[in-house]
Symmetry: C3
Subunit: 344 residues, 3 copies
């Protein structure tokens, strides 16, 4: 399985967790989650060690889970606290408890070695808390494909002209090459389409009278977070790239959660510097994103079917593939390194 | 496949067999059955040896099966009696005929070596024919799980408090330990819940004024029959265990028929010493059992899903698992012994 | 996979191909087909070599296919003609183009080595263009089974009495043996049922007053074409076999297209020397064939299920199996020979 374990993944938005048992699957692990009365989000292996019944089929009693088959009871740390009908509790009567962290209405879960869970390394952006920016949580896109294909798609500005011609792209960008930059932990792919009519969202909310310079910067944070910084600015202003926040700018955030090797949830949201107090614009954006992401989903699920059929990955590599190529290499290196450390 | 072959299994109630072809699967074998005009129940391999068409897709003509593809005809003993278009009938033109036996409105089938089929070893209870007892055939519970999990559940009094809190169990029994006895071919698990209010059925039909002593005796007959003797008696009477038939007593019988490694049919019925001429009570019992058995089904099918995922069986063994532990050991021993004899 | 590659297969009737992309699967290969503005039928591998997206998910622009993911464009010969965003087109930027041929409203495709595609070897019958015969394209029967079972069924006159008792056969033929002839590339199985009442179609359109001599000649052309020559003639005429065209004669043609190892499309049509200008009769025939072929489908799909279960093919060989036995032997020889040549 091609998963990086030592990483923070998004388990869901804050609004998804309450005082009841919620079963979910991340990196092929079945997990049961709930919010305790103190407000913490608890995440345990969703499998009673006795007969394997998912604990999520049991019930939550005073912040503890009571198994639905024989009443074995587990606390927030995964430790068994009661075995009906016997006094002693054997030391292996416990389930794994996953570290969690909550910020900006996002619940994160650490899937690897708990000792390495470091909440200071969780993804953040200053705009989340900047009053000049509006942040809006969107929806979750469920894709029947491996997360690597989803991530590739999110470091690939070139597909926009072909897959999203009515929302995010246009024919004007078809032949414009893509630039890449690999610094630190990020893979960045970008291109500018200069002096062309505004597209989609920017037509409607950008207040542009003439042509614009339009940019796409795709930041891929390994293993599973993508930030797409896109926007438009009046061509006449001839703004340099590092002042693009003076234009109309949007960060589309994608938090990919690999469910299994052929299923991925992509939770998406955006942060923008336009119409920041207008909830109607947020919903309008959601609608536009939903159209676009369904277009991606259709493509990616078809590719998944093909990849499962073919004996090998395609070998034709184009100039636009530099970002995805490096991404796959780095993911492989991370997985090998985890396997190496696990075998020590 | 974890099946014991040399055993009598229940193929169905008497009412399920008539003068027409019925296809069923037992121990992963496709079998075609019908009742001949003499009244015998015939059971043949459901596969024409010519092109493998199931014989059940053909037709029954004068107590013989005519294959629907080329008219090959087979008698009650599985021997081919006609090959249209040719005179000679080769010696391998035959299908296996399974020994069957019918008693107490139950049709039994022997799945192993026909020479070892001995009808005197078929399960029986004197109460079947005792006029002071009512016997009532219930229904068939179809479970998407291996029969071993179903059997385990039927030698496990402890689950009743958690899985059937509204019908067969109550919180009063949560912490009462289970006793076990292994004598001869039976595995017995039991416990008494003393001096507690009557539950479910006994509330309604037991005519009890105060608290009762309540018992569960689970008898597991290898490989696939379970008898659950349960009942209640007025606590004030202080009856010894061996006179519990003087209370209100029910035998719930479970005949498990393994269909495949992940599908089991549990035909259930009961025999009782209360309201013996009251058909309405029988139907009331059926309703209660259906609620309870659907609760079991929900648990067991979830466990099956987990068992297929996990690489190994759970290793946490509790005090209440003694019966199921011995059951699995004995089943394995029987299967190994059959494999050993087959290879000789 | 048990496919013969160096052969012409039917991809569809002429009416199935137009100026739009059509995805289909033949011999487990995904193929995209379309008719160009010059009228040729183009057939390419349905898989972009870049990211494996099926080309059929793209769009057809000026007789070229534009991939729906990044705009790679392929011409009628499968060669890539454009890669948006880059100038050079690498030599491996191409997909396989399959030879096609169209005649008598049938589109043929060559699935093997293109150099060996020879259109003079495509199946033909003089009656296709003979004005005394009516030719009528029927429908496509989709069968969830391997093509070998379908072919076997089409060199097997004996099954007609059992599978099609109301349309093509009758009890009169049950015990009549089958003759076989193996000359050149054809396997022929036949039998005459003499001096019996006419059946099905011939009752209605043959204008017979008394008994008829009825024939079935099954010609199996390897690997995947069957011609069933069947008809009836007045018994009183005592016509010799080689003058049977003087009776009421029908050629039922079956073009089997193996989709995958467990899915086959059988496109069927007929040519007849009776009521040749009566379209109503053609539709009547279609109806009758549909009844009969659904009877075959039911049998063959059941057998497929059994064959996938059993570890080996059945070993009981009857006198009527001579044709199918030789067929399987020859198919195996062809497949081995192709494998041998491929490894050279």
């Amino acid at each position: 399985m091609n998963f990086v374990k030592n990483a923070w993944y998004v388990a869901g938005w804050t609004s998804e967790f309450d005082h009841c048992l919620k079963a979910l699957t991340i990196l092929d692990k079945n997990i049961v989650m709930y919010r305790s009365h103190l407000g913490e989000v608890v995440a345990l292996d969703d499998c009673c060690p006795h007969k394997l019944l998912p604990l999520s089929k049991g019930k939550l009693t005073e912040d503890q889970i009571v198994c639905g088959y024989h009443g074995m009871t587990f606390g927030k740390n995964g430790q068994c606290t009661r075995i009906p009908g016997q006094k002693n509790i054997p030391p292996n009567a416990k389930v794994h408890a996953y570290p969690t962290y909550e910020r900006h209405n996002i619940v994160w879960i650490w899937m690897g070695n708990s000792e390495q869970a470091n909440s200071t390394k969780i993804f953040d952006l200053p705009q989340f808390t900047d009053p000049n920016w509006a942040s809006h949580h969107g929806d979750a896109l469920h894709l029947k494909c491996n997360y690597l294909s989803v991530a590739e798609n999110l470091v690939d500005p070139a597909h926009v002209s072909w897959v999203h011609p009515t929302t995010l792209g246009s024919a004007a960008s078809e032949d414009i090459p893509v630039d890449f930059d690999i610094t630190g932990d990020n893979i960045i792919a970008w291109r500018w389409i200069r002096d062309a009519p505004p597209v989609g969202f920017f037509q409607q909310y950008g207040n542009f009278n003439g042509n614009v310079d339009r940019w796409h910067y795709y930041y891929l944070h390994l293993p599973c977070i993508a930030v797409i910084d896109f926007g438009s600015v009046d061509t006449a202003l001839a703004l340099p790239a590092d002042r693009r926040h003076e234009g109309c700018q949007i960060y589309a955030l994608h938090f990919m959660t690999p469910v299994s090797k052929d299923y991925t949830i992509d939770r998406w949201m955006h942060i923008r510097n336009t119409a920041i107090n207008d909830e109607a614009v947020s919903l309008k954006m959601d609608e536009m994103f939903k159209v676009a992401f369904d277009e991606d989903k259709a493509i990616l699920e078809e590719i998944q079917i093909q990849e499962q059929k073919e004996e090998s990955r395609p070998t034709l590599r184009l100039a636009i593939d530099k970002g995805s190529h490096i991404y796959r290499k780095r993911i492989n290196r991370l997985i090998e390194s985890e396997a190496h450390n696990a075998s020590k």
